[in-house]
């Protein structure tokens, strides 16, 4: 299971006594590829642990308003699959930490599972997250991922039954992406008892490292999650500060988040 290349990286990072790792996110092509490069540089400076690079899609059903607009704008700017992988590849020179492909299934389906895995691997990807592809529909994708040393990252959600959590855990590689709450990306999540109970449930369902995403916005959120999960994922909050406060605000939040890892 070479997908565990990613798992190993995560465990090592944690071993280097970090209370929690930070995974960031950006939509490739929004607001522009230049801006994306700048974002990556700032992430690198903040010593981020992992990053998701979202491949734009015209029907982003799991995303909230801010990412919906980002996907749409990126496509309107004419970004193609080639340009996506090119950017993914170049990113290597900016950031040493693992880059994961995140995106909806259709572009992958149209490209073909085989070609997708090879191109992602060639571009230096360590794994991928396909939020609208349930594990039952992975088809040969798990095997192809293995062959290309890619970790197919699966999501666990508060609405999953214990039995389903276990099924997901059984298929997951690298780490598991726990969705903090119902709904789509973008709105705030409270760090409360109910959430922690869900985290425990996920822990019971998988031995893999656990990442938590959806609605994390601040250093305090990360702090609250230390020891509870292994990775905190921050997406919309970062894009929001970039849109509202530009580079400096973006740097500010990233520094805060990085520091909060302990």
């Amino acid at each position: 299971m070479t997908g565990s290349r990613l798992e190993t990286y995560v465990r090592e990072r944690l071993a280097g006594n970090r209370g929690i790792l930070l995974m960031t996110h950006l939509v490739v092509g929004y607001p522009s590829l230049e801006a994306n490069r700048r974002m990556l540089e700032i992430m690198a400076d903040a010593d981020v642990d992992l990053v998701e690079l979202q491949m734009p899609f015209s029907e982003p059903i799991a995303d909230g308003p801010i990412f919906v607009r980002a996907n749409q704008a990126a496509l309107e700017s004419g970004i193609t699959v080639d340009e996506y992988f090119e950017f993914f590849d170049d990113a290597r020179s900016i950031c040493a930490f693992p880059r994961l492909m995140m995106g909806y299934y259709n572009p992958v389906f149209c490209l073909g599972h085989k070609l997708f895995c090879r191109r992602l691997a060639d571009a230096g990807g360590m794994g991928f997250i396909l939020p609208d592809l349930p594990h039952e529909e992975y088809d040969g994708l798990f095997e192809l991922a293995d062959d290309n040393c890619l970790a197919p990252i699966l999501l666990m959600t508060p609405t999953n039954s214990t039995e389903h959590l276990r099924a997901i855990g059984g298929n997951a590689r690298g780490f598991v992406y726990a969705v903090a709450r119902k709904g789509v990306t973008g709105c705030r999540t409270e760090m409360e008892e109910q959430l922690f109970r869900f985290i425990d449930a996920c822990r019971h369902a998988t031995g893999l490292p656990l990442a938590l995403g959806f609605g994390l916005r601040s250093g305090d959120d990360l702090t609250a999650l230390r020891e509870r999960v292994d990775i905190g994922i921050v997406g919309s909050a970062l894009l929001e500060v970039w849109e509202q406060g530009g580079e400096s605000a973006y740097t500010g939040l990233l520094t805060e988040l990085a520091a909060a890892r302990g």
Binding site: F57, S58, E59, L133, P134, T157, I168
Partner: protein, 432 residues
């Protein structure tokens, strides 16, 4: 039903159970051939499971279908009649034309069949709020109507472009007590309204049901919508046998998402002698790029979006394309996986009718038979008229008139460029 499962095993088609076989005995759960499935965020898995279980229990309970039929009879006017179009038949010198009159339904289209069925299911599931997407507004009006009648809260998502095209329906939805949300994302049409519903549902699923309006979307929607809409085909088959003593040579239906077509086709699925023809929106013409024909003309290709796999109008990288039709209800990127499967099997033939052909066919239908069909529905008429010459006066065809055209007065008024109508609007506005 041993017979149908047996049939499934042998692959043979038994007229009576052909539709059950197609809907419920597929090899992969929720699939029709290569199409269908449930490509949805993990957060919705349990909700779709809950819905599937409730639906499976309901359809196995004979009382449920009986209740459905009763509601459709007493609240709408089922069975809707079939009308023999003597004048048009004589005028085209072709086959005897019969029209299945879904336009006579309460709220003016077949959409109410599916909506009332899902409403009854909601009661069983104990949901208190319903959300729905709408294109032409017919499904929105039908859902708002069902919600008012059954006492549910109701939110309708509608692309802002469609809100503009179909304002009369928006007005009625609001009068019926629904909240109408105008969706500005993407192309601001039907597909974007569907995305918005899935987003709402991912948050509200506990007390909310998503009443999808066509035979698309993730499992169990195509199956469930087809199940309720099949009432069209079952009635029509019996009525044709009663009134003409034989089955029609061909059955035509317009195809947006595919619910009215699936509904009428299912009734004739086992009758190999009956040719089934689906008519898509040809818009400004298949090579204009301004259309919504996913199969006819070969513009579409298999893909996965909005929770299911089917033929989509998309570019080679899987990004959905802009679609166009004079009828908001056919202006959609995807097509029912059930129909995609029947296309692959060669059981359904697909054609497209252009905006102009449709307007011309509507004027003909109005002036020769006194029937004002919805622009969507008239695609079936236009598709037939183009090939009427292929059949003889001894043949018969059945056209599904899925809805009435009252809602299209603004669109038709524009398309025909009626001067007095324009003047009337100017006067109205000037006096506000």
């Amino acid at each position: 039903m041993p017979s149908s499962t047996a049939a499934a095993a042998t692959g043979a088609q038994l007229p009576v159970n052909a539709w059950e076989e197609l809907l419920f005995t597929g090899l992969r759960r929720g699939y029709f051939g290569d199409y269908g499935g449930a490509y949805i965020p993990e957060i919705l898995r349990s909700t779709l499971q809950e819905l599937t279980d409730a639906f499976d229990a309901a359809r196995r309970d004979p009382a449920f279908w009986a209740e459905f039929v009763d509601v459709m009879q007493s609240y709408s006017c089922r069975p809707t009649p079939i009308t023999h179009l003597e004048n048009l038949s004589a005028a085209v010198g072709g086959p005897q034309i019969y029209l299945k009159r879904e336009d006579l339904n309460h709220t003016g289209a077949h959409k109410i069949n599916n909506v009332m069925g899902q409403g009854l299911l909601m009661r069983r599931m104990g949901k208190r709020r319903v959300i729905a997407e709408t294109g032409a507004g017919q499904h929105g009006v039908a859902t708002a109507t069902m919600a008012a009648r059954m006492g549910f809260d109701c939110t309708i998502y509608m692309g802002s472009v469609d809100v503009e095209r179909q304002r009369p329906n928006v007005f009625w939805m609001e009068q019926l007590g629904a909240t109408v949300v105008s969706v500005k994302d993407g192309s601001a049409t039907l597909k974007d309204a569907i995305n918005e519903c899935l987003r709402d549902w991912a948050f509200s699923m506990e007390d909310t049901h998503y009443a999808l309006g066509t035979a698309c979307g993730p499992h169990p929607f195509p199956q469930m919508v087809g199940y309720f809409q099949r009432i069209i085909g079952e009635e029509a088959r019996e009525q044709m046998l009663q009134q003409t003593g034989a089955l029609p040579n061909r059955v035509y239906a317009c195809v947006g998402g595919g619910s009215n077509a699936t509904g009428i086709f299912l009734g004739f699925l086992g009758d190999d002698v009956v040719e089934l023809v689906g008519v898509e929106a040809g818009g400004h013409g298949l090579d204009s790029g301004e259309h919504a024909a996913r199969i006819a003309g070969g513009g579409g290709s298999p893909g996965v979006a909005q929770g299911y796999k089917t033929y989509f109008l998309q570019n080679e990288e899987g990004q959905m394309q802009h679609t166009h039709s004079v009828s908001a209800g056919l202006d959609y990127i995807g097509i029912s996986p059930i129909l995609a499967c029947l296309y692959d099997q060669g059981r359904v033939r697909f054609e497209a009718a252009t905006d102009d052909e449709v307007i011309a066919a509507l004027r003909r239908l109005m002036s020769t038979e006194g029937i004002v069909g919805a622009l969507e529905s008239v695609h079936a008429v236009a598709g037939f008229l183009r090939e009427a010459g292929q059949l003889s006066p001894d043949d018969t065809v059945l056209l599904n008139l899925s809805g009435r055209g009252d809602k299209d007065i603004f669109t038709i008024g524009d398309a025909i460029g009626d001067e007095r109508w324009k003047q009337f609007l100017k006067d109205k506005a000037s006096r506000l």
